[in-house]
């Protein structure tokens, strides 16, 4: 039967009863109604479901909700802070790094993790870091551009808001 879990979701404490087999992505989408996290496959290939757990990007379709117990979860909904777009979001729009938008939240979360790790990645590093995210619309050229633009912008502004719970 159900198990009780407690976790921080985008900065807020959440407690819930979940079936042990419930996938984290379903917990996020169906129970928390945070529908920015998407599902695009059943074999953990597409990356549409990527969120951060304790600051590390995970494919939430390959994690059980119970495994998130006691941890900090960050989804795309937390990227913009205080009504201000995160530089990654702004750059995706500016560089036309999205079309249908379905892969976009996962792409941005992967990009976020990359830039936290490596503030100034070159094209090859970006392409490698995003190789777990499939996009069928953009051909990736403008996504790479967006990540580079975000990196430049983040270096410029020291006071970039860091999403709640994204770790440090």
């Amino acid at each position: 039967m159900g198990r009780s879990i407690s976790l921080t979701v985008n900065g807020e404490m959440v407690t819930a009863d979940v079936e042990p087999r419930l996938l984290l992505v379903h917990f996020i989408r169906e129970r928390l109604r945070l529908t920015g996290t998407h599902i695009g496959c059943d074999t953990s290939h597409c990356g549409a479901c990527i969120v951060l757990l304790d600051g590390v990007p995970v494919k939430s379709c390959a994690v059980l909700a119970v495994q998130a117990d006691g941890r900090q979860l960050t989804s795309v909904e937390a990227l913009a802070a205080g009504g201000k777009l995160h530089p990654i979001q702004a750059a995706f729009k500016q560089e036309h790094g999205l079309q249908c938008g379905f892969c976009t939240p996962g792409m941005m979360m992967s990009s976020f993790a990359l830039l936290a790790d490596n503030p100034d990645p070159d094209e090859e590093e970006i392409r490698w870091a995003l190789s777990g995210n499939i996009c069928r619309c953009t051909g990736y050229v403008n996504i790479v551009k967006a990540v580079r633009a975000a990196s430049a912008q983040m270096k410029l502004s020291a006071a970039v808001p860091i999403p709640v719970g994204a770790g440090s």
Partner: protein, 784 residues
């Protein structure tokens, strides 16, 4: 961060997309995001066999699972005359199997439950007793006498042959071949692949038991056509059906057909009086919904020894799977494949195609393609490459020698297409120049001396997009026009409602810009609404690159209608005669006295407050646009590859794309479309393959087997343009969504062949994987 732009959005301005804000903040609204009170969930049980007779279906155990509300079988649907449905090609398709299953993954039964996990569990408890039959997976074998009969339920169907179709002039073509100094031939297979948008297909059907109103949220590229088909298939009154196609996570043709899951979910909602949601998983998407291509083609080109093309002859066999469900204009059994003469002035051509049933999933959708143009373009561009090898001519020179020349337009092709405009030589020259073609050829020669393999591939494609004209082109009888309704409010802001439906192409921005150009209202003030059949005018939807050619033309025409009325109001306000009013960039002014002017906003206000006597109030209109012709985008793609003799791996070093899609409304969006199409073309050429073993098991049923290009393997693209407006389109635009997928596979494969042709290798069928290249090299003793 400031994202405002000072640009108003006139044609040619790359304003940022209006739709992006919701997507980058996780606030898109896709079908799977929709949750209604009391909503039930559906799961489909599918056939594990490619061909088997159903002896019995036992659902008691499934029915007994707590949370299960209903189990739907074919027999239950048959009681409501819903076990079969019509396809877009005039055939029938089983909704849920009653007699036999005809492909692996076919829909057999559905469970409706309060929870999606429960629905899935219960579906596994349904016991189906099958009598397995021999399967036929090869279309040539399917046509042999004695082959297992796929469609034994169809009256008068005694073989697996579906259709025979011809285009062009056979006798004239035979004469051309009789005169030819040489015949170049190529047999090639364009394998089955799948569009695979990242979002799969889904529906939430909500039929009220009280009012009978059917509200259907659906991943639909063609909501209006789907509403009409729902009315016909399910017998629901059309005015009570409202199809809502919310944000769509990519379509590429996959979301054009009506699938059995949609029908069962709708029927279940009707029977149960509750909303029912069905969202397929990725395997379901790959094994059962609209595949593309699967054409076996043989092309022959009659040429002179100095490379002049005299005639083209094509024989083709189409593998349609178990149901003939191609999504295409109904009179054209092989879509627009007969555009196969491409960019070349070939005086005679003849095309013969046959279709065959096999025990495979149905489909034949136009995957980022205008109805089989992709296969046609691939064949002719590969054939030209083969001719260059045979004639020992430079492939660029051979193309150049045979291009339809600018002064020949409008040009009627040997198979009856009326090309609107083109400058093929110009696009080719630009690609060669940007690539540094002569240098590349030198480098190739030097490398070859050292035993290194480098190839340069070209494709100078011509597309045909923007169906109608409605006189000749229809989908399930519905003429292929499209529509736009525009209303300007008193404050000068507008709402534009369209019959087409974006799946990521940026309609909310592009179409607003057409209004900006024609009326001067800034794009930011024009709200674009699509995908709601109650609130948009009837249209045939978005596929085959038809939105800009048809819906865009409708938008321009309705804007002009409003502009005519605005002129009258301006004359009234300026106390001048209407004939003396000129319009420029949103301002109406008296000729010769530009200071006497009114803005479109002032006129909009007057349309509700201060009208000339006798004029109807308001500023709004609707236009249904039936295009007089197709548009013909074109371009040249050039690919450079290096091949490793040890592994057979082909590495794309450069990809240069010159596209001409006429006038570009938002160049940023156009370029994004080209990038996306090139990546899909790259995937098709090198990785994307749906295939089957001899028992009909699908190999390619998930992303472990069906390989899609990621950012890692996708090359960078260098894009350039030439601009040749369409003479008949109101703003000269031609459409761009598909050119790159149509044109690029041949360029990639030609590059690989160019690297190995001197070793005697003239063809490798797609996908050109490293093992296939290595095997070909090994066979001629050139592998390391």
């Amino acid at each position: 961060m400031a994202t405002e732009t000072p640009l108003k959005g006139f044609i040619g301005e790359s304003i940022k997309r209006k739709e992006d804000d919701r997507f980058i903040q996780g606030k898109g609204n896709y079908v799977d995001d929709i949750v209604l009170p009391g909503m039930l969930h559906m799961s489909i049980l599918r056939s594990p066999f490619a061909h088997a007779r159903i002896k019995s279906i036992k659902a008691d155990a499934a029915q007994a699972v707590p949370g299960v509300v209903a189990v739907v079988t074919g027999d239950l649907l048959a009681q409501h005359k819903l076990a079969w449905m019509p396809t877009l090609s005039g055939d029938t398709q089983a909704v849920l199997a009653t007699d036999k299953v005809r492909f692996q993954g076919q829909e057999v039964a559905c469970v409706i439950a309060t929870d999606p996990y429960v629905a899935r569990d219960a579906a596994q408890l349904i016991e189906v007793d099958y009598d397995v039959l021999p399967a036929v997976v090869d279309p040539y074998q399917a046509l042999e006498p004695g082959a297992p009969l796929v469609r034994d339920e169809k009256e008068g169907q005694s073989s697996n042959h579906i259709y025979h179709w011809e285009a062009g002039d056979k006798a004239k073509t035979e004469q051309a071949f009789a005169r030819a100094e040489r015949v170049v031939s190529l047999e090639t297979f364009y394998p089955r692949c799948h569009p695979s948008p990242v979002e799969t297909c889904g529906i939430v059907a909500d039929i009220s038991p009280v009012t009978g109103n059917a509200t259907i949220y659906m991943t639909s590229q063609a909501p209006h056509a789907h509403r009409t088909l729902f009315a016909i298939v399910a017998g629901l009154p059309e005015e009570k059906i409202r199809i809502l196609s919310p944000d769509i996570g990519g379509g590429f043709g996959n979301k054009v057909p009506i699938y059995p899951g949609y029908v069962v979910a709708t029927a279940a909602s009707l029977l149960l009086g509750k909303p029912v949601k069905w969202v397929e998983d990725r395997s379901e998407n790959l094994i059962s919904t609209g595949f593309a291509r699967d054409y076996h083609m043989k092309g022959e080109l009659a040429v002179t020894n100095d490379g002049r093309m005299l005639g083209l002859r094509v024989k083709m066999l189409s593998d349609n799977g178990a149901f003939y469900a191609d999504a295409q204009p109904s009179k054209f059994r092989a879509g627009l494949f007969h555009i196969v003469t491409g960019s070349y002035d070939i005086p005679a051509a003849h095309v013969e195609t046959d279709g065959a049933y096999t025990n495979k999933a149905p489909g034949g959708v136009a995957y980022r393609c205008s109805f089989r143009v992709t296969e046609a373009s691939y064949l002719i561009e590969r054939l030209v490459e083969t001719a260059a090898i045979d004639l020992k001519m430079d492939p660029a020179e051979l193309r150049s020698k045979n291009f339809i020349r600018p002064e020949q337009f409008p040009y009627t092709s040997a198979t009856g297409f009326d090309y609107d405009s083109g400058q093929y030589e110009k696009a080719l020259r630009l690609a060669l120049e940007k690539a540094g073609y002569d240098e590349l050829r030198k480098e190739q020669a030097e490398k070859r001396k050292r035993g290194e393999l480098m190839g340069i591939g070209l494709a100078s494609f011509t597309e045909v997009v923007g169906a109608g004209p409605g006189k000749h082109f229809d989908i399930a009888g519905l003429r292929m026009f499209d529509s736009a309704e525009l209303r300007v409010h008193p404050t000068g802001k507008a709402i534009l409602k369209l019959g087409v439906k974006s799946q990521g192409q940026g309609h909310e921005t592009t179409f607003a810009q057409i209004v900006t150009e024609e009326l001067g209202i800034p794009a930011v003030d024009v709200m674009v609404q699509e995908g709601d059949t109650d609130n948009t005018p009837y249209g045939l939807g978005t596929y085959a690159s038809r939105s800009t050619p048809v819906g865009g033309a409708a938008t321009a025409m309705v804007s002009r209608k409003l502009r005519d009325k605005a002129k009258k109001i301006a004359a009234h306000l300026l106390e001048a005669s209407e004939a003396d009013i000129d319009f420029d960039h949103g301002k109406f002014f008296v000729q010769g006295a530009p200071s006497k002017s009114k803005t479109i906003q002032e006129i909009a206000f007057a349309a509700y407050t201060n009208l000339p006597d006798g004029m109807e109030a308001g500023l709004e209109g609707v236009t249904y646009y039936d295009p007089p012709n197709f548009t013909y985008p074109f371009g040249t793609y050039l690919v450079v590859v290096d091949i490793d003799r040890g592994t057979g791996q082909a590495k794309v070093r450069r990809m240069i794309a010159v596209d001409d899609c006429g006038v570009r409304i938002n160049p940023m969006i156009v370029e994004g479309q080209i990038h996306g199409g090139l990546a899909e073309g790259f995937g098709i050429a090198f990785m994307q393959l749906i295939t089957f073993d001899e028992e009909g098991n699908c190999l390619g049923s998930n992303f472990t087997d069906y390989l899609l290009p990621t950012s890692w393997e996708t090359p960078n693209f260098e894009t350039y343009e030439t601009v040749t407006p369409s003479p008949h389109h109101p703003i000269g635009a031609k459409g761009i969504g598909e050119s790159a997928t149509v044109g690029s596979p041949a360029a990639f494969v030609n590059a690989v062949i160019d690297a190995v042709a001197h070793l005697g290798i003239k063809n490798i069928d797609m996908p050109v994987t490293s093992d296939k290249i290595w095997s070909a090299l090994h066979e001629v003793g050139a592998a390391e």
